[in-house]
Amino acid sequence: NPETFKKLLLFQEFEDEQGFTDNNQGATTVTIDDPIKSRKQRKATGTAFEEEDNDDKTELLSGQRKSAPFWTFEYYQTLFDVDSHQVKNRIIGSILPWPGKNFVEVYLRSNPDLYGPFWICATLVFAIAVSGNISSFLVHQGQPNFRYVPDFSKVTMAATAIYSYAWLVPLALWGFLTWRNTKITSLVSYSFLQIVCVYGYSLSIYIPAVILWIIPNEGLRWCSIVVALCLSGSVLVLTFWPAIRDDKPRITIAIISTIMILHVLLAVGCKACFFSTYEMHPSKAHNEPSTATNTSSTNPK
């Protein structure tokens, strides 16, 4: 018995079917260590490491991108990981809806960015302020006792309205969709940042529309609103359709109509606030009551 015991303890050579010679054993350990070694080498570059790590993880774990904790600077850098042509493509994609293309799938994939929503909203705020001022100047130009006064309180109002639309509506929508997902498993579910991204880019059509509002022609203004609403509204509907089509039809219709109504409210509200108030200035005799009745009659709720 001690003999067999000693035999069992002796080192035994295994048959080397896969060619596990000394060389190959060394190679095996190198391949396991290699990604870790190269990551350590890349760690010196700091943020580049985070981005490359994210790229690897994107392929491995779809949908789980942000590896850095949200209180570090690197986390927010991953949210700005876009190139100029990518931003340009996303803006074009939000303006021209294509029935088969889902904005999130085609343009965002798993890389939502915050650059687009933030700067498009900022541009929209300033475009509204500037166009509102220009249009009021043009309307009152002929009057002798009108002194042009630039109005800066409008900027803060516009900023509050647009930024809360771009952030609170996606938050509500995301919460609602997540809640529905617990009851009905649909194939498509969007993260909060993706919804924010879609909403932000969908506002980009309003920038040329707002610039067109300088021309004090009511027909042209309403025309441009309708066109902008159709384009961006259809982009939104096409994006969210796959996520809610498996739901009960009543809920689907309710969500779609809520999205559209809020979108319409934003457009008409901006027009009413910034482009008609000037025409209702109390010290002016030149009044346009038709604009006032138009805007008050479009209050849907």
Binding site: Q77, S84, W119, A122, F126, N133, R147, Y148, V149
Partner: protein, 229 residues
Amino acid sequence: MAEVEESSKPMFAGLSDISISEDILVEGDISVPVGSHNADNDFSTLDEPVKDTILRDLRAVGQKFVHVMYPKKSSALLRDWDLWGPLILCVTLALMLQGGSVDSEEEGRPQFAEVFVIIWFGSVIITLNSKLLGGTISFFQSLCVLGYCILPLTVAMIVCRIVLVGGSGLVSFVVRLIVVTASFSWSTFASTAFLADSQPPNRKALVVYPVFLFYFVIGWMILTFSPSQ
């Protein structure tokens, strides 16, 4: 040390027997070189007259103004950043743009605090934006560049005020429009000349656009400035 070479004995057994006899003199010299005090004197500026200090800073600020007016790709602005210049320019611009007392005619003009906040807050946001996009410029260097490049717009503001003294009709508006447009494009061009090198090449447009928007808004505030009567 013959004991150590015997392998049968444990390693450090022989060391306990070693002692330094009293008559071997151990001496040395531990002293810090005194020359560092001389270097210290060169950098200490506490003893110079106040006029020298102020003049030195003013000269640095003035040199940067010259760099902004003739933007070449020099790194002087980036290397020795200071925020004196931006502060002077911002205060000047805000003082000239502000509305007077709370009057019904002047309530539309921005207050001093509004202009001040817009300029500094806008610069901070643009700097954060360029850093988030992967720029290699430091926070204060970027603030310095953005602040100094407001100089053409401040000059335009002074010119506009002079033109407005002459009258506020269509001709003066056209002149002011041309002046403000020229200076705002000069500002944008100057700041991108300094900032563009620090950005990754495929994101330059993403960084330049907020700078364009920033100077456009300031130019707009200058253009729509209406004089008090």
